[in-house]
Symmetry: D2
Subunit: 333 residues, 4 copies
């Protein structure tokens, strides 16, 4: 971290500032230029708050040189992280497609979809039991019952399952869930993140609708700093001025997050665009950009889906997409 001292600050004030900075537990190296004095802070500056330094009267500006995240930072973990889920690994060069319906609706539905997506090559089954909905009057998911149906589908198909947690109090129900999803709206639910950091389950962390890469990585850091290193980052579209699509897929997130972090990065084109007809193109684009995987909504009867039917592929459409994805992946290696 670099602290730029205001011009014509008297030496005594610089010294007083230096002492205060040392109190924060960092070493301070003074670089005396002819115009500005610049203080270089050395040590673990991730715990320092830029705003707390800017408040000192003689400080002109503060510039972070190191990223404020450590566990998630590729600089300290140059190799790709690969996260075991059942017999499969997410990240580290393998391609992971997670598929399934937006919501679990019945035993027949979830097992049917699970068998279909497995046959097409999906490695994990997704399905919502607890559903975050903007309206209190909309379908809120089958909740506990939904988890049970997912576990039945897991038993039948042997596909590991991914499903969303909405509150810490639900954690006991997730004992046999393979990957716990944190939704976009909970990306900065810090108490939830801390608790998930005390489990050893892989966490699929979705990027918030208006959050930056650094904020996503700081949320991963919350989980990792509490002891759980198994975090999968998920780009699922951000909010922009465009309202034609549901959200706007930030395709650059893929290569940028993979540069900044060693964690796997997957893309959810279904929520990003929200319209079936564009999901194939965005899926292929995500793979071309280097994503470690995709999470795709598939429903056996989209027109009767309890939610997100507009963005659910049929099993046939999904199968076709998987074939195109395989061809593309082979070509870009």
């Amino acid at each position: 971290m670099i602290v730029i001292v205001k011009k014509s600050t008297p030496p005594a004030a610089v010294e007083a500032l230096t002492c205060k900075l040392r109190d924060f537990g960092v070493d301070v190296h003074i670089s005396q230029g002819s115009v500005h004095t610049v203080l270089g802070l050395v040590g673990d500056t991730s715990k320092l708050d830029i705003d707390q330094l800017k408040i000192f009267e003689c400080v002109e500006d503060v510039k972070r040189i190191q990223e404020p995240y450590k566990n998630a930072n590729r600089k300290f973990h140059p190799l790709d992280t690969s996260i075991p889920v059942g017999k499969h690994f997410i990240g580290g060069g393998s391609l992971t497609v997670i598929a399934g319906p937006c919501s679990v609706e019945s035993e027949e539905q979830i097992i049917g979809v699970a068998e279909n997506v497995k046959a097409s090559g999906a490695k994990l089954l997704r399905g919502g039991a607890f559903k975050p909905r903007t309206s209190p009057y909309a379908f809120q998911g089958m909740r506990e019952e939904g988890i049970k149906l997912l576990l039945k589908a897991k038993q039948v198909t042997k596909l590991p399952i991914v499903t969303e947690i909405m509150d810490i109090s639900q954690l006991d129900l997730f004992d046999e869930v393979d990957v716990i999803q944190v939704g976009a709206r909970n990306m900065q639910n810090f108490e939830l993140l801390k608790q998930l950091g005390h489990t050893d389950k892989p966490i699929l962390l979705k990027r918030g609708l208006a959050n930056t890469y650094q904020e996503l990585l700081m949320s991963a850091e919350y989980i990792m700093a509490s002891g759980n290193e198994n975090v999968i980052l998920c780009e699922r579209g951000i909010r922009t001025f465009e309202t034609y699509t549901r959200n706007t897929l930030d395709i650059s997130a893929v290569p940028v997050l993979k540069k900044l972090s060693h964690l796997p990065v997957i893309v959810d084109p279904s929520h990003a665009v929200g319209m079936v007809e564009f999901i194939p193109q965005l899926s292929l684009a995500s793979l071309a950009a280097g994503a470690d995987g995709l999470m795709i909504e598939v429903h056996n009867n989209p027109a009767n889906a309890k939610c997100d039917g507009l963005q659910s592929l049929t099993p046939e459409q999904f199968d076709q997409l998987m074939k195109r994805a395989a061809k593309l992946s082979a070509a870009i290696i």
Copy 2:
């Protein structure tokens, strides 16, 4: 709700659609134009999901005419809601200034600030015990101990207190808290909102950084639909491309929310702009725009504040602002 049917849809398909719509529990009135058939849905359409209707092949478009919120809607509650807190009322024509430090730091600090802001005319004391911080390494608040210190300050000064809850599991600690705050990052933590709807405490609900007016009102609706009508809306700045200020105060939120809803609307200029020097102007502007109150950060020693020192007024600055606010309020009545 209006459903526009695609051109040249055969009558049988229109009838099939009509039946399906009636299954959702609404009446359907068919308006047969020479070009388009338009279906008017009558009844409680707040439970209908636009996306679920758009999925039908013969549907061209769906247009909501009624707002999807009812309890929070001024149409059904024409009079301003006024929420009792101690002997004071928030909304309904009275002006409420809530003041205090970002974080509770010590008994001396919180009681000192409380006495100061009370002397200047604040009606409630604010102070953070549980602090949502982007970084897991930043000060996370005094938590349980912080609540206790706030209650001491309440005892000494008789000022009702406002403090933030971050997770349902903390609710027991809020028994004697007067107003429970839901922070911007938790505005769509729907499980938390539902639980708060089962209490009878006033809830101060902050608008999320990238959320619309309707989304804020739908979150209020979550609390109200669960039985708690005491919701106070708070505009605290939204995220925009401007990075010079911390956030961007959306001043239009004040008159617009007061038109759409009967709930009180207060403004938090401290978080909106994040720089002490602009807080007085934005406070006055908020009152001129018709806000029911302000929430302002005041610290006895901003340079040593554990967080948000950059945006905390000194008690003297706060006192001066209160005098200017009184003059302005008198002039605009």
Copy 3:
């Protein structure tokens, strides 16, 4: 267009409204429902202004059903438009890569880069002569002299050239330019668009930093309505809250624009991301998403480029990218 009349509007008022609407040159079909009266406007509603209709007291809402653009609309031109440039065609199934430096800097530089990119497979040469810069103190381009050097490079390499116009007064200098570029900041410079509509040159129209798909298509419509049908749409990144990259590539723009319009859509990953290391991934992603082409900055000596060196590939990097692009294109057909 659908006009929804307010409940309990007296029939005389509906009739008065109907007359006024007919004055705008459209037919009005009344659909009398039991709750709402809905007016269907038939004819050329592209000239109607929603705001002008909403102002009538008895109007509840107005909903556009037809898009407000006609010439650019795929509904009226189902086949892909293919635009001839020299012996090459842009759009219609062919892949067009446009490459060259941000700015023309010298004869040696522009001819050198042109030869390099041609050898790697580029079909057109780009190079800025008039440069829009945020600062009046930054290099503003070689202007007239730059155009002359581009024409020399065209003569030597036979590559058609693309370069940006910033003001109508410069049009005379563009006589031998093959494709005229309108920059993102001029996307809504309507006077310029109208004048370009009176030429017969292909126009490469860049999307503005905060503009929607519809606004981009309305700007294309300005050019086309004035008589010039040769418009190429270009997605070059939008402004979002993310500041790590220069802009954010909106990859969905590719399939969405190609659905809404018959015009060719190309992508400029260089401006979208602004960092050399991510350009290959975004280029491949754009092709996977279905783009008709790419526009890529290439400089023989990026470290000494007069502008945009950070986002310019070397000829070697460009050549490698072209090889990967060819493999990917072959795989996704």
Copy 4:
């Protein structure tokens, strides 16, 4: 400007970099810390491009300390600028209300409105002759004829007039216009700005829909660097995710721009919110925030206005607002 050199850069590379920097016409002061070497650039760094420095391999980061604008910068012009228009001054403590219709429509209309707004206390008359419209099919203004009618209204009422220029080629028509307006969409039409810098007319420069404070000030700088110091800044609402209002008024722009610059700052609440019912509150808020003036749309018959009728006050509404504004202004002095 501060250039931070990467760790372990060999001294020779630092020296080579230093030489290159000196070539840009600035002095370089080396501050050798034990961790980082920091170079302080002294002199006129406003002409330096951060990106051009970041491209050097041994550069870790570059930080601008001085703002890139000089003529518009309050640091170099501590006193408020006051711009004479007729016998009136804009800025410098006086309050300026500019009022009139969106578009000039007829002699009767413009003279009628002019007389009305003058009677209520407006100091300047506004009216659009050249109208930037998203659609090529919408009313484009009376153009040359509109300017003539404005000049008649000026002759009759003695009110100075403000009207928008859309292209340099129109400049000759603006000889007797008192203040030339540059619209939001032309804020970065740099060729136009340069030409206006060669006139001596006051320029009312509107902020673009997605532009930052610094970008607005850099556009002012374009005009000022060309020789015309008479620039009036205008906040007219920015684009955000909220679609209920036309745009979102950025009220913080008022105190922030007045801190950063000595130029007058006025607010256009009509375009910012786009709905008549909220214009009074936003006007008062703007004055409370410290604005030097307001620009308000007034039409004698909003329901028949050729554009922007939804956001035009009637003369009676305007008169009432002026009275409230006067009371508020008296109270906040």
